[in-house]
Point group: none
Amino acid sequence: MAGENPGVVEIYTDGACVPNPGPGGWGAVLRYGGHERELSGGEVERTTNNRMELMAPIQALETLTRPARVDVYTDSTYVRGGITGWVTKWKANGWLTSEKKPVANVDLWQRLAAAAARHEVEWHWVKGHSGHPENERADRLALAGMHAALRTAGIEPPPERQAVRPPRSFTQPSDSGMAGDSGQCRATTRQGRRCAVSARPSGLCHVHDHEVQCGAPKKNGEPCAIATGGGPCAAHRGYRRS
Amino acid sequence: MAGENPGVVEIYTDGACVPNPGPGGWGAVLRYGGHERELSGGEVERTTNNRMELMAPIQALETLTRPARVDVYTDSTYVRGGITGWVTKWKANGWLTSEKKPVANVDLWQRLAAAAARHEVEWHWVKGHSGHPENERADRLALAGMHAALRTAGIEPPPERQAVRPPRSFTQPSDSGMAGDSGQCRATTRQGRRCAVSARPSGLCHVHDHEVQCGAPKKNGEPCAIATGGGPCAAHRGYRRS
RNA sequence: GGACACCGGGUUCC
DNA sequence: GGAACCCGGTGTCC
């Protein structure tokens, strides 16, 4: 079971999107006999995790120069379920979901079906982030592809695990205090960024609401909402709660 | 804030686990009026940091002979957030997380809730390792509890944070695959004594078992269990953990 | 309602 | 760098 698989190409794929939706990448590990090859790519424009999960096997299969027996491994039941079953129905019914709504990502589904038709493909599902080595490699390739795309576009990817900020128009001019529709927590993270979790009626997320906000009264009388990990924030050092 | 708190019991708790997961310990400092009491304990079997963080207030609250007003201080938002908020939801929904998976450590959460119900408890969070004197004492008590448990089991705790490593001699697993009666780990401690912990099917205890296996991910994703005395086995030479 | 994936946040333990 | 745990979301299908 461990040895090579003569005459069969093994393809391990993964996709990533940071945030989702947002910039994304895909990665694939191809193995044939003793040979291995790694593919990756990414998109700067807003895309989705599922589009990236589709792109990985598309690019891998399109890379093969001639028809082959292929084992494709993906951690996405969306991809596997689609290509092994749903597409057949979609082709017949005009690409409608079971709820009669248009199927998403039709362009990629058709491209994947065409690429797979050239080969004899077996589709396998593997659980993600469970120590499967090739899946983890594909995962890292996906991130690498995304980062490469961002750099090519002149966007410097954050140095560490910091969030990638989508091109634009994510931060609305909320300096009015109007609140209103904005369901986003107004607390600030340790990194100085805005907390992205949805807010409770208080305007803070579940964490910042009752766990770690400064709480000191601001000049306008409202409690300071800076996240501190407990105790007062730097601006209110010395403040003690009742 | 430093003075005594008439009629109120103060409890400072902490937990530790080396490694995590692995053997662990918990510690608590109880203060009532002018009296102080220290509690600690540990487990040799594989446990987690969060279980130890839970055990500390459990044991402390269960120690109180009759209902009291209590201030509990923990550095774990897992414990504080759980007991002050999440448990209520969990009791109502059958102990499922927001992702509909079973809540971890249900046994301890129920035990903690029962222990807290006997008293009037206020739960406080303090940042760990920030000079809070009682928290640091609880931290040392947790390590002491773990060490005591290990010694009781015949395992010499590592001097610092170094891992316990048995000698390479046990690489020979054979001599009888029968196992059966031999419930004792066949590894040897640094001091040359025989490890007294009960063995797994591998013939090694939980500590020596996961410290000395190859650990490289096999093709099926599971970790290679070949015992090597450290480092990868011959088949996985070149593989690095993490 | 179910499933998989992809993200954001927080604390602790290493 | 990782593990233990929790909260909050989207992308998609059945």
